[in-house]
Structure formats: C-alpha cells, structure tokens
C-alpha cells in the first residue's frame, strides 16, 4: 500500500505561505528531509563508511556474545551446516555419484550459497529491524543494508577459514589458482549488496516479504547446484535448451562454480559456461548499481510507515 497525503476534513491551520519559501531562499535554508542527488548521496554514504563497518562488526560480535562458546560459533555454524548437507545429500540421497571430490564440492557450494542467501535475508531486515535508528538519527539509509552485507562478508571470512581446513583435510592443498576465489567472491559480494538494497526497500514497504523469502531462497538454492553439478546436468541431453541457459547463467550458480573452479583441482574449466567471468561481472554490476539507485529513489520514505 502506498502512503498518500490524505487531506484533512477541516483544516484550521495556516495555508501555504508564499512568503515563507522566499524567506527560506533568502537565508539559504534547505528543505528538510529532501532526497539528495545521487552523487551527493554517494558522497554522504562514503562519509559514513566508519559507521557502516563499526555497525557490521558490532552486530557480528554481539551475535554470539551470550553463547558459552562465544565467537567459536562463527566457525562452528558453517561447519555444522556442511555436515548436515553432507549427511543428507552425500550419504542418504547419494547425489555425490559422478562428482569428483564431493566433500570439497559440497562444502564450497554450501558456504558460497550461504553468503548470498544470508545477505539477501539480512537485507529484508536491514530497515524493518532498525526503525528506531532510522527514526532517531540522520544518515544515508543505504548505510544499514550495506552494513548488513558487510557483516555477512565478515562472516564469509570465517567460513573461508573453515573451508581451508576442510580442503586441506581432503587433500586439496593451497595453490596459486586459489587467488581466483578473490575476484569471484568480490563480484559475489557486490551482487549480494545490491540485492540486499533492493530487498531492504521492498521489505520496508511490504514487511510480509520477510515471511516469503525463506521459500524463495530455498527454491533458488535447489536450482543453483549447491549439492549437484549444474555442468553435468546441462551437458546431459534431457534438459531443454532454455532451462539449461537459465540454470547456467543463474548468478548464484556462477559464483558457486567460479569459487569451486578456483579451489578444487578436479573442477575444471569445461564445467563452466563460456564467458563465465563476464557473466559474473555483469550480474555484479547490474545488481550493485541498479540496487543502489533503486534504494536511493525511495530514500525519503524510509522509516515513515
């Protein structure tokens, strides 16, 4: 529902005063709460970069502060997640058949997917969960979804530390190609942040989206090749062409497979679609820039409903 200015039944207050606008202009007063231009908005957001990182770190620290094991959970949570997926998909459902190095394959998929899904989910709560802050202090609202995305990026670093241990245990030792994971995850982080900004705006207007997102994300996860190989499936002939293209160019699948390509020996370039880096960069640019502009366009309405 959109908010409309309902005219009052009776209006005993004063009428608009043409002299007041002139008075404001004469003394150089600016309209309060007006949306700044996009460059100015970007500049202000940059000015609040320390708040963004401090807020993200504070949330990450506070997250497990009441648990006995404290921040150990930051590593334990992704590890336990990986164990559960291994048990269900590796042992019970046996999707591992035909996939070399299944454990590294699965764990990389789970961690990279979790980065996107938790950032998107966090985005839906970035404004609705901080209405008090939005209504009390003045700052570019994009700082909140961006801080939530930064928090997930920090969490990813813990997951990647855990992943390194798992990979080494599975005989995948560090090699130069691991560095390719940096641009892949960097592009993914940009993509995620853009999506978080979009979700923050949508959820601030329609809070019900937060209830719907888990289902959307679960569907997205199952088509993203987290626990099965997209490459193998689309090379088979049963998949219609259009579906194969959609599966291959799904941004989540691209980022997952790029990271696998960087980290796992047996995951070779022939399992990737052509122009994969260009595709990953396009998605990041589209979501990052588009999400930022989309969020900015409703800046003055946040915290109102």
């Amino acid at each position: 529902m959109t908010l409309t200015a309902t005219p009052p039944a009776s209006d005993p207050g004063a009428r608009p005063h043409p002299g007041l606008a002139a008075l404001a202009a004469r003394h150089g007063l600016a309209a309060s709460g007006a949306r700044p231009s996009l460059p100015e908005y970007t500049r202000r957001l940059w000015g609040r970069r320390h708040f963004v990182t401090a807020f993200a770190t504070a949330r990450l620290t506070a997250q497990y502060s009441r648990a006995r094991l404290g921040r150990l959970w930051q590593i334990m949570t992704p590890l336990l997640n990986a164990t559960v997926y291994y048990f269900v998909f590796g042992v019970l459902l046996r999707t591992k058949e035909g996939v070399a190095d299944f454990v590294p394959f699965l764990v990389t998929g789970v961690f990279v997917w979790t980065f996107t899904s938790s950032t998107v989910l966090a985005g839906t709560r970035a404004l609705t969960g901080n209405l008090g802050l939005v209504r009390a202090l003045h700052f570019p609202r994009a700082a909140l979804p961006v801080a939530y995305a930064v928090q997930q990026l920090q969490q990813l670093l813990f997951s990647m530390a855990a992943l390194t241990v798992i990979l080494c245990c599975c005989g995948q030792l560090p090699r130069p190609s691991w560095l390719l994971a940096l641009p892949a995850l960097g592009l993914q982080a940009t993509f995620n942040t853009g999506l978080a900004l979009v979700m923050a705006r949508l959820a601030s207007r329609t809070p019900d989206i937060a209830q719907l997102m888990p289902f959307v994300l679960r569907t997205w996860m199952y088509v993203s090749g987290v626990m099965w190989s997209v490459g193998h499936t689309v090379r088979g002939d049963e998949v219609p062409h259009l579906a194969a293209v959609a599966l291959e160019w799904n941004p989540a699948a691209l980022y997952i497979d790029l990271t696998r390509f960087a980290l796992i020996d047996s995951f070779t370039a022939d399992q990737l679609p052509p122009h994969v880096w260009a595709g990953a960069a396009c998605w990041a640019l589209l979501a990052g820039v588009g999400g930022f502009v989309y969020f900015w366009q409703a800046e003055e309405t946040y915290g109102r409903g």
Binding site: G13, A14, S65, R304
Partner: protein, 240 residues
C-alpha cells in the same frame, strides 16, 4: 509575519506542514494524520518549548524538523542539519560501554578522531567507571540508571546547529540530573536554536523564551513561553 521579523536569522521554517503515517494492525492499514497544517518560523538564539497533551503531535513535528519523517504536504526548511538529542537506538546491549561510545558517536556522524578526543570526557561524564571498570563490560550488565547516564553522555557529546531535546532525557540520580541540566544549558549556548518537548511546564518557562502549543496536530498558540503555558493550563483546568 515574515516581514516584521526580517532582522533576525531564521533557522527553521515550517510552511503548512502536514504529517501522516501508517499504522498497521493485522491486514488493515490506517493513515494517522498527526500534524495538520503547522506554520512557524524559528530564529537563531531562540529556545522554543513544545507543549500539548499526549498524542498532540509534538514528537512527530520534531522528527519532521529533523528530516526523519517527511511531511506529506507543506515544506520544512532548515539551516544545517537539525539533530534530535538521542542515540539510544544505535547502541547494542551486548557490547561493552567502550564500544558503544564509539558506535554511538559514529552513528551521530562524528569522526573516529573526534570520538577519540572526547572519549574520556564522555565516560567521565556518565560516571559509569566511578564504581569499578564498567566501561569494559557489556551494557546489559549495567543498572538501568547507569545505562541511561551513558546514553545521555554519548548523545550530548556533539554540538549542533539546531538541537531538539525530547523530555525524560535527564534520568539518573540527583547529581547526574544536575550535571545533565548544565550540559543541556551548554548545548543550548552553542546551538543556534533549541527545541524542547516537555510535560514539565516549569522547565519550559525556565529554559525557553518562546512556546508552541499543539493540540490534536494543530498549532493552537505561538508566543512568549509564559503566556502560552498560562493559556494551556487555563484550558486544561477548564476541561476538568
């Protein structure tokens, strides 16, 4: 009106401001018309009290002046960025007092350097370290008075062009109330214009030279604080 006051510098101009916001309850959403056509001009050096019964739109109007709630109709013009004295929402109970000082300062738009410079003063002013080293403990371990003192100290650490103070800020024991009253006076001296929302009419007549009386979102009276408070009290008595 504008013509007579040309000699003074305006800091806040409200021009026929209407504010509506949505209230959700289940599937129905209702628009509440909280402020209905308020017009006033505030000047440099003025301290303006806002009075009116509960729900008359005082806090809503302040939030609109701060640019936090956009007016549905009308315009608000301001010099610089008006700030609400309040930082509670940015603080996290699971963090130490130390880290909350930094987080709260950054949330108010202070630089890391400004926070470093003022850090000791903020902690000393709050008095949380008077009985042990509480600044290194999570805020959830504080007594309610201690937490309130720290919140006020952080909020009052920054100086502002246009400052808005909602009442019930000065909490804590008598000694702290004296200190915070003095700090509010200091903030008033450095700020261009101060708005004060209060139910204590004595506070309004003591600290403000002008008062706005809001009733059901409409500006009932605008004038010298003593006159407006007297009229408001007479009206309240007549209703009883």
């Amino acid at each position: 009106m504008a013509e007579e006051q040309d000699a003074r510098t305006p800091t806040v101009i409200a021009d026929d401001v209407h504010i509506t916001y949505r209230v959700h309850s289940g599937r129905t959403a209702r628009a509440v018309h909280a402020v209905k056509g308020v017009t006033f001009v505030a000047h440099q050096g003025e301290a303006i009290g806002l009075i009116g019964s509960n729900g008359s739109g005082k806090s809503t109007l302040l939030k609109a002046v701060a640019g936090l709630l956009p007016p549905a109709r009308g315009r608000i013009y301001t010099r610089g960025q008006p700030s609400l004295l309040g930082v509670n929402a940015a603080l996290m109970n699971d963090l130490t007092g130390e880290r909350n000082v930094v987080l709260g300062g950054l949330a108010m738009g202070m630089t890391r350097r400004q926070i470093r410079e003022r850090y000791q003063r903020i902690v000393d002013f709050s008095g949380i370290d008077d009985k042990g080293d509480f600044s290194t403990l999570p805020m959830r371990t504080y007594s309610s008075g201690m937490a309130a003192r720290l919140r006020f100290s952080i909020a009052a650490a920054k100086s502002h062009d246009v400052l808005m103070i909602d009442e019930a800020l000065a909490t804590g024991d008598a000694a702290f109330q004296r200190r915070s009253k003095a700090r509010i006076a200091e903030l008033r001296a450095t700020a261009g214009t101060v708005f004060l929302v209060s139910h204590h009419h004595r506070t309004v007549t003591e600290t403000c030279d002008r008062a706005l009386w809001l009733e059901a979102g409409v500006l009932r009276m605008d004038g010298p604080a003593a006159d407006v408070v007297a009229a408001y009290e007479a009206d309240a008595k007549a209703k009883k």
